[in-house]
Amino acid sequence: MSRLRGWSVAAVAAAGTCGCNRIQSALAPAGDQARDIGTIWELMLWICGSTYLLVLVALAFAMLRGHGDGHRVAGERTIERGLAGWVLLIAGLLTVLTAASFAVDRRLHATPENPLKIQVTAKQWWWQVDYLDPDPSRHLTTANELRLPRDRPAEIQLRSADVIHSLWIPALAGKEDLIPGRENRIVMTPRQTGDFRGQCAEFCGLQHAKMALDVQVLEPAAFAQWRNAQLAPATSPVSASARHGERVFVSAACALCHRIRGTSAGGVSGPELTHLASRRTLAAGTLKMDRGTLAAWLADPQAHKPGVDMPAVPMSARDREALVDYLMGLR
């Protein structure tokens, strides 16, 4: 149950101050694309809803009436006229809907000017996020968090390292698949700052359920500040314990899969950890990022996310404490 609490808190934490249950809802659009789709949804709701009611009412009448004497065909002519009218009505409504979705679809696929270029690579079961830049030394790699500036379209290249995943941030846009051997693309233009949540929408194996993405829309200035901070190498540990933790990290199994820029740890199979402590969730939205959950996670990842590739690395309690000290220092 404590596990569960940790997780729910994770979601709420990501929710921050806003109404928690809106952070992953298509009904609370916070970006152009989601809003456009929202209008289609309302149009659909009205047209389909009223048609549905019409049918039910007709059916009720038919049942309540029904005092014909049966066994003989009556009023074929009127019925056929009715049928023709009905078909015309449906066809007309469908044309409206088709035209509407064409229009919106075009807007979704429009190429934005001066977009923020991002590459998201899905891996079982987490997200690698690369902020691209013509200047390679400003190429930024992070994981399981997507921070966007308000009012600037973000053009996201979508790749997969293993199986098919699907990136879905309901509040900002629809979903797009990440398919091995292909490169897809999705554009989202956030209009409100705030905290949102994305999740993998295509079944991708054991932990499909725990592959979430912490999304945060920032004021452009705040975003630039964040990005520059992330570009810096890891802050070197200050306390003796943290220094010991760094030694543990680079000498034990951790360094094989994780990278911490500024150390010799250069693994890319696992999430980049250079600024781990500046994130708000652990293990792709599975846990809230704090000292306690981090320690629990390191002690036994399989208990929180069964099947994840991160093993429970055997180490002394002292080493693990030091490791946590070190990682919590990676702001």
Binding site: S8, Q24, I37, C48, H71, L97, R182, F203, P306
Partner: protein
């Protein structure tokens, strides 16, 4: 009492004599072997139905457990691995082992009777298909029990189901199960198409074919066109996994989307393959209880055919998020929207039929107004299916689909379409045809109870899912966090699922009770207009003493009218009448084969081949030997040829 047949015989003695001869010819061999060797479409049909319902119950049980797991956030009923196997088995069993087979099963039983012929064309192929289906189903459930159940969903997307990401033999058993069921499905479809096109009662022209037969004709043709695609896909997958071919390896020029195209080229028609027979059932029920022929019969037929065609043109709407060219997606949006038109036409015609008919009049009880249970389920169909159709229109729109695709909204949508659109009519049809199946009539009171339980339970279970999907809950998650507003809808849905289950359980009890103590039904308890009601309940092995002749689309209306028949079919051998495909003019007397054990042997041999080839490539070669032997035995030439001519109307 099959009154119309009476004038054929000078007196009862002659009739009894004739029936004695027919019984001698059409009777089964005694004992267990006879049971295994039967080629009687009614017995095979009943077996088919019972088997399919068993798989339905098993797959449903899986769903109940899944709902328990999802009742609260972070549930601990199932772990991720088990949950994934559960939902994969649920989908696979429902689609491959229940929905399609049960629809074909009912047809296997009803169609020959409805067409007034003595057996299905290719009766042994029919028997063979049942055995293959049975063995395939047993294989996958045994595998599941052995922890070798599928884990990649009923849609089995590569590369997740490929050799790298699905270790062991789980996916191989699943893919081979598809091969089993498709072989079975294709066999039945061929038999049904042949029967409907060539063995109709004399005079049953295209304009007089019952709509149910029309729907089964279209369905069977769709099966024949759609299923090879998925067999190809699953064979590619098996060879990728067993001998390392590269069909789905993106690095070597294979493509993950190849699977999706092949699969959905089958997978979307599949939905209509399940749904069209239900439409046929509804037509039969509505016609019967409205006491008048279906309005605008040609329009109905055209709607069926149009649906069949269109359903092949919209598989891509399952792949809108896969990044295909927008223009293409636009086309498939239009096509998907268009298919709403034929459905709309049918809904209109049914309502018009009820409108101009007398749906609440009870036969034999003047003045009483009551809605019979079969019709009740049809009304349920309207309420549920039309809603599902509306959400279907929504997901057909690319932009909206990009939001709701792979969410619980879609789960809600297709359960409304499949349960509302197929299972409700199916249960209705069971109530409707149960007299023919067993000679007894199901309890109407229990029937009403189970209807209302199912209807309420269904809506409780699936309506909240629409909202869940829009609030961002993806499909196929074994658990979910709290704090996203998903708690209440999930709770309601789980509660609903148990009510739904109770409804189904009550139906099963109803069946059992009826089989034990149900009141015998007459030949035609509903006063229905089609030929299956023109013989006894249950019908004799030879269905009809003499071939009935048809003069209208509703041959048994008005009641009491004499049904002309055609004499001359030999009684000392299993003869059926072959008629021309458009005007149903008698052409040939066709000696149908006797019962035989070879279909069973062939099915066993095929099973060995399929299962062996899961583990070893050489199983394909060596396993072919017993298959060859069995087929040789099956097709060893016999003396009986069709005896031409000699059919005269009386």
């Amino acid at each position: 009492m099959s009154a119309p047949a009476a004038p054929v015989f000078p007196d009862d003695e002659a009739r009894d004599q004739a029936r004695k001869e027919l019984a001698a010819t059409w009777g089964e061999r005694p004992g267990f072997i006879g049971w295994l060797a039967t080629v009687d479409h009614k017995r095979i049909g009943r077996r088919y139905i019972v088997t399919a319902m068993v798989f339905f119950a098993l797959a449903g049980a899986l769903a109940l457990v899944m709902r328990l797991q999802l009742m609260f956030p972070g549930g601990h009923v199932l772990g991720p691995d088990r949950y994934n196997q559960f939902f994969s088995m649920h989908g696979s069993a429902m689609m491959f082992l229940f929905a399609v087979p049960v629809m074909e099963a009912v047809a296997v039983f009803v169609i020959p009777l409805m067409l007034g012929t003595r057996n299905l064309a290719f009766p042994r192929l029919n028997a063979f298909s049942y055995w293959v289906y049975l063995f395939g189903g047993i294989m996958i459930f045994v595998a599941f029990a052995m922890d070798v159940g599928p884990e990649g969903g009923w849609f089995g997307y590569v590369p997740l189901t490929g050799p790298e990401f699905s270790p062991g033999k789980r996916t191989d058993f699943w893919a081979q199960m598809i091969t089993f069921t498709e072989v079975a499905g294709l066999s039945v479809s061929v038999a049904l198409v042949a029967t409907i096109l060539a063995m109709r009662a004399p005079g049953m022209t295209l304009r007089r074919i019952p709509l149910y037969a029309w729907s089964m004709l279209v369905t069977s043709l769709m099966v024949i066109f759609a299923m090879p695609a998925v067999m190809l896909a699953s064979t590619f997958l098996i060879s990728d996994r067993l001998v390392g071919t590269q069909f789905y390896n993106p690095a070597e020029g294979g493509d993950a989307l190849l699977w999706q195209h092949l699969f959905w080229f089958f997978g979307h028609p599949e939905v209509y393959i399940i749904f069209l027979p239900a439409l046929g059932m509804i037509s039969s029920i509505v016609e019967t209880f409205a006491r008048r022929p279906i309005v605008a019969y040609p329009a109905m037929v055209l709607a069926l055919v149009a649906t069949g065609f269109l359903s092949f043109g919209l598989w891509v709407h399952h792949m809108f998020a896969a990044g295909l060219p927008p223009a293409g997606n636009g086309f498939y949006t239009a096509a998907s929207m268009m298919i709403a038109i034929p459905s709309g036409v049918q809904v209109f015609c049914w309502i018009a039929t009820l409108w101009t008919g007398t749906p609440r009049r009870v036969p034999g009880e003047p003045g009483r107004q009551r809605i019979a249970v079969p019709l009740l389920f049809v009304l349920g169909f309207f309420a549920l299916f039309v809603l599902g159709g509306m959400t279907g229109v929504m997901v057909a729109s690319v932009p909206l689909d990009l939001q709701v695709h792979d969410t619980y909204f879609v789960v809600a949508h297709f359960h409304y379409v499949l349960i509302g659109g197929a299972v409700f009519p199916l249960i209705g049809a069971f109530f409707f045809w149960f007299p023919k199946f067993t000679g007894r009539q199901l309890s109407e009171r229990l029937g009403r109870w189970s209807f209302w339980l199912m209807f309420a339970g269904f809506n409780l279970t699936f309506f909240p899912m629409h909202r869940l999907g829009l609030m961002g809950m993806p499909r196929r998650v074994y658990t979910y966090p709290s704090g996203l507003g998903w708690e209440l809808p999930n709770l309601v849905s789980t509660v609903g699922s148990w009510i739904l289950a109770a409804g189904v359980l009550l139906f099963v009890l109803n069946v059992v009770r009826t089989l034990l103590v149900g009141k015998p039904a007459g030949d035609n308890p509903w006063g229905a207009p089609t030929l299956e009601w023109a013989t006894s309940s249950p019908p004799p092995p030879w269905n009809f003493d003499e071939a009935p002749v048809v003069k209208s689309a509703t041959p048994l209306w008005p009641p009491g009218r004499l049904l002309p028949v055609m004499t001359g079919l030999a009684r000392h051998k299993r003869e059926a009448l072959v008629t021309s495909s458009t005007d149903a003019v008698p052409a040939v007397r066709w000696a149908l084969p006797d019962p035989g054990i070879w279909p069973l042997w062939s099915a066993l041999a095929i099973t060995v081949l399929f299962v062996w080839s899961i583990f070893q490539a050489k199983g394909v070669a060596w396993g072919a030997i017993p298959v060859a032997i069995a087929l040789t035995g099956w097709f060893w030439p016999k003396r009986s040829q069709p005896s031409l001519g000699g059919a005269k109307e009386k």
